[in-house]
């Protein structure tokens, strides 16, 4: 396999670190030196030639090739079996509705959340239980990091460069979660978003940091979900009032009573849609009275529709701790779901 990227010969592992750090090609952590064999192995696994165009970033019209993505994936610690997920997630990011340029350049400081569904989770050894949103396993850690390194290197999303985040959040190192499909009666997220069952898929979302909730004192689905909705209302009050794709992560201890009561993900979404909303006047209670103006009675829903809630089953077996993950800024970015191993732009003719 012939790689066309510029090659550098370095004396050893330490010299490779200095080369990448001194050029601004890292996230500040050590990288795996991307050698030809390792990059080629990623491309081979995904059946992608090096010059395959994965997509074109729509605002700055930057081409993203498989070779460049694979180099960044190796640097992040990805194994070849992880690479199809990285490549598909990048195809999803470059859909116009995701508004990747806005997500990555905004002062708002969003990260890219990647949610993995389907059999590929098991093949790569992703762990959907303990510590699901953090350093739960090698695969999700490396895949999430690959997304960020590729943003840094392929779209210049360096702090102070294209990335103008005021604060950012730790998910900008890596933000990837696999859904616990084995230990739930609910449909996988990907299926609720139109991907056939049994097909591996990724969903990408321009996402703020997780806001953790706790409720261990009820088995009533309405009460459990009210806690999630309250956290969404808090986000509307303190961060952004506008509706968009929120994700909620529901661990086993909280989802079992909801499942036992016969609630589906759709039932959850419809309940949360009704409950997660605030009057604009509430902004005056949290120091934002200047922008309430004469619209105090306007009601803002956290979700533009129930379809916009991403319900994810994940987390360790014990503990009533869930998470709300807010969108970057309302519906300016829309979550995108793509099947792995399928062309996201190839739609059968309608007629």
């Amino acid at each position: 396999m012939h790689l066309t990227s510029k090659a550098y010969d370095v004396d050893d592992f330490a010299a490779a670190q200095e080369l990448y750090h001194s050029n601004g090609w890292t996230d500040g952590l050590p990288i795996v030196p991307p050698t030809e064999d390792d990059v080629a192995a990623c491309l081979d696994w995904a059946l992608m030639p090096p010059d395959q165009l994965v997509g074109i970033e729509p605002v700055r019209t930057q081409p993203i090739t498989a070779e460049k993505l694979a180099i960044n994936a190796v640097m992040a610690g990805c194994l070849p079996m992880h690479f199809p997920i990285v490549a598909t997630a990048w195809q999803a990011l470059m859909k116009e509705e995701f508004l990747l340029h806005g997500v990555t350049s905004s002062t708002g400081g969003a990260a890219l959340l990647v949610i993995i569904n389907g059999p590929i989770r098991l093949e790569i050894g992703a762990n959907s239980t303990f510590n699901a949103l953090a350093n739960s396993d090698r695969a999700t850690a490396a895949i999430g990091r690959a997304m960020r390194l590729a943003l840094i290197n392929l779209l210049d999303a360096r702090p102070g460069g294209i990335d103008r985040s005021t604060l950012g959040h730790p998910g900008k190192f890596s933000y990837c979660i696999a859904e616990d499909e084995e230990d739930t009666t609910w449909q996988p997220l990907s299926v609720t978003r139109g991907i056939p069952g049994g097909v591996s898929a990724v969903t990408v979302m321009g996402a703020m940091a997780p806001r953790q909730i706790m409720n261990e004192w009820t088995k009533d689905p309405r009460e459990i979900l009210e806690t999630f909705a309250a956290e969404m209302r808090a986000n509307q009050r303190h961060y952004s009032i506008y509706g968009g794709n929120y994700a909620i992560v529901i661990p086993k201890q909280l989802r079992e009573p909801i499942q036992d009561a016969g609630w589906t993900k759709r039932d959850i979404a419809e309940f949360v849609y009704e409950r997660a909303r605030i009057r604009r006047a509430e902004w005056a209670e949290v120091g934002k009275g200047a922008v309430v103006r004469d619209r105090g009675e306007t009601v803002h829903t956290a979700l533009d529709s129930p379809d916009h809630l991403l319900v994810i089953a994940a987390g360790g077996p014990a503990g009533g701790f869930g998470a709300v993950i807010a969108p970057w800024f309302g519906s300016k970015t829309k979550a995108v779901t793509a099947a792995i191993g399928a062309c996201v732009d190839c739609e059968p003719p309608k007629d």
Partner: protein, 93 residues
Amino acid sequence: MILRVFDPTNERKSAGGEPAPRLSSLKGKTIGFISNGKEGTQGFFAHLDRMLRDEFGVADIVYRRKANYSAPAAAAIVDEIKNWQAVVTGVGD
């Protein structure tokens, strides 16, 4: 042992835009203001409007506002730019 490693950056970047030739004078010119729509742009552009008219003799200022402050300006706005001699785009954070 020598390690051969590869450049992770986008070596095939699309050409970016380049600044237009500088105007020798602003006197009598039409200037476009493209706001990202945030609150902070209002004071900034009002002040700049006064400066350009009073101190530099600008003839006319055309205000346009992006519908989405995080996305590029709509094609209709970009098309209008050719009718102006200069354009200022502002972020109102």
